[in-house]
Symmetry: C2
Subunit: 303 residues, 2 copies
């Protein structure tokens, strides 16, 4: 089934954004910025390891010069820890991430919330630590004008990466901690269109993590424009040979990406479509210029 069958309209090609994870092995951030400009990709979402290479100020300068939208900074979060010192260190690091996101003009800071502390089986406790951690950051994020985007991760990462595993769970956190969904951040969408101001707390919807969820349509509608901070695309391969680094390029797997894109747009999302592919055996081995060419074509055909 092609995109046209499931969503009706092609995506705006100007909506594509490059998450640096997709070409992390062979390109520096400076090369990625140049590559996006060269390929007509209009957004970028850096991971902090790449940001550290170049320095935040220099990265911000180059990204602005290239005219790129920063669709997010990856990543804050990782709240649960075995002791109070660990939790404090996590909050300090998150505040630095918020400041970096502000310096970059990022549309959000993506939160990968963290899993169980080492040796723990207390999932409810870890989830409570996540709630408390986000609550402790919100004022700093509001002051900095940086919306926080909770990214629910696939349940296969519940133990070691993120114990927020469904969109419903993420939105329950948003509603509990930021009940009014007050807009704190003006946003520019595809083709420069304004869309709803971003709530201080919202979600990043990555098709890889949520495609299986029977509640997905209802929860995307529930999120609405003010809480939809980011939309990430890639694909689920069959078979998947590794839990972490075997994501597929759009069109190579089983996710009906276009249908999900249609739902986030119907809910009011006007932001970019960020391509984030962890693929140690395939895409990370290829020439990044080839990866960007394929990414653009697959975006048109399958998103």
């Amino acid at each position: 089934m092609s995109r046209a069958e499931s969503a009706g309209t092609a995506p705006d090609p100007r909506a594509l954004s490059l998450n640096t994870a997709t070409v992390r092995v062979r390109w520096s951030l400076a090369q990625m910025i140049d590559g996006c400009a060269r390929h007509g990709v209009r957004g970028v979402s850096p991971w902090r390891d790449k940001l550290a290479e170049l320095g935040v100020a220099e990265a911000a300068r180059r990204i602005r010069a290239a005219g790129l939208t920063v669709t997010g900074l990856c990543r804050g979060g990782l709240f649960p820890a075995a002791d109070a010192a660990g939790r404090r260190a996590a909050l300090d690091d998150n505040r630095r991430a918020i400041d970096d996101a502000a310096a970059l003009g990022a549309q959000c800071l993506v939160l990968v919330v963290g899993g169980l502390p080492a040796g723990s089986r207390d999932l409810a406790g870890a989830r409570a630590q996540v709630r408390d951690g986000i609550a402790a950051l919100l004022e700093h994020a509001r002051d900095a004008g940086v919306p926080l985007a909770i990214e629910p991760l696939h349940p296969m990462y519940a133990a070691d990466r993120a114990c927020v595993n469904t969109l419903a769970q993420a939105l329950d956190l948003c509603d509990a901690l930021d009940p009014g969904a007050r807009g704190v951040h003006p946003r520019q969408g595809v083709a420069g269109a304004d869309w709803a101001p971003a709530a201080a707390l919202g979600v990043a919807v990555d098709v890889y993590h949520v495609w299986w969820d029977p509640q997905l349509p209802a929860q995307i509608a529930r999120a609405g424009a003010s809480r939809l901070h980011a939309f990430h695309v890639c694909d689920w391969l069959v078979p998947t040979r590794d839990l972490l680094e075997d994501r597929g390029m759009m069109g190579d797997g089983v996710i009906d990406i276009a249908a999900i894109r249609g739902r986030v747009e119907a809910a009011g999302y006007r932001g970019l479509h960020e391509c984030e592919i962890f693929s140690s055996r395939d895409w990370w081995q290829r020439d990044p210029d080839e990866v960007l060419e394929v990414m653009k074509a697959r975006h048109r055909a399958h998103c």
Copy 2:
């Protein structure tokens, strides 16, 4: 954290049942039946490949002679198919599985419902095929006195094994297709205690598949005694190196099994605790007598 901290009471050691998957590589079904008797394990749940080796009548005779409870037959399901002929073939095979389960006196037929047909991205369509398939089987199952147990599988299997991925989704199917939860099957629980008659349609709760679910406590309570047809134990390893065959022995991973056991018992479950471990690198390589000894000790300590 030990079992005692999270659930308070030790499990009844008579509640342990062996799923044949746990020792599938090195033992035949006949050896498993003898092994259960030798180790004082009072239940068994055969997979159909093992059943075919021995023949249903002979297997039933030996299981009865050994005094074992058949906690389930694995497995029916696999409903979605690319065409009507495929769907009919699946239903025919499911009817044979129901008849086999009846011959064994199995407490349920476990349904692993199937994923996307080859080449399809239509998850909603696959789920509709599952609903229609179960609906088409219910009368045969009622007539045979075999409760059907929908096993929600972990979302990482949504594409290729089962597109029912949460307990809520499974219970929605139960409520839609078997609204009264009418009991069709008397049951013997731990220590021979009667418990609620099994509804024609219910669920198999495997901790591996559901441990991450934020809705788990509420959905176990919702299921109640009449829909809780089976309870499977093993553990989630960190890291998990393979999506299918890297399950852990109870206590080697991060699942608070005792807490989940406490919840199913609080909901009225009185059945056995079936140990099902897919482990190509570890447990399948060991002497099955050792596996059963460890399984018994871990059941006491961690379930």
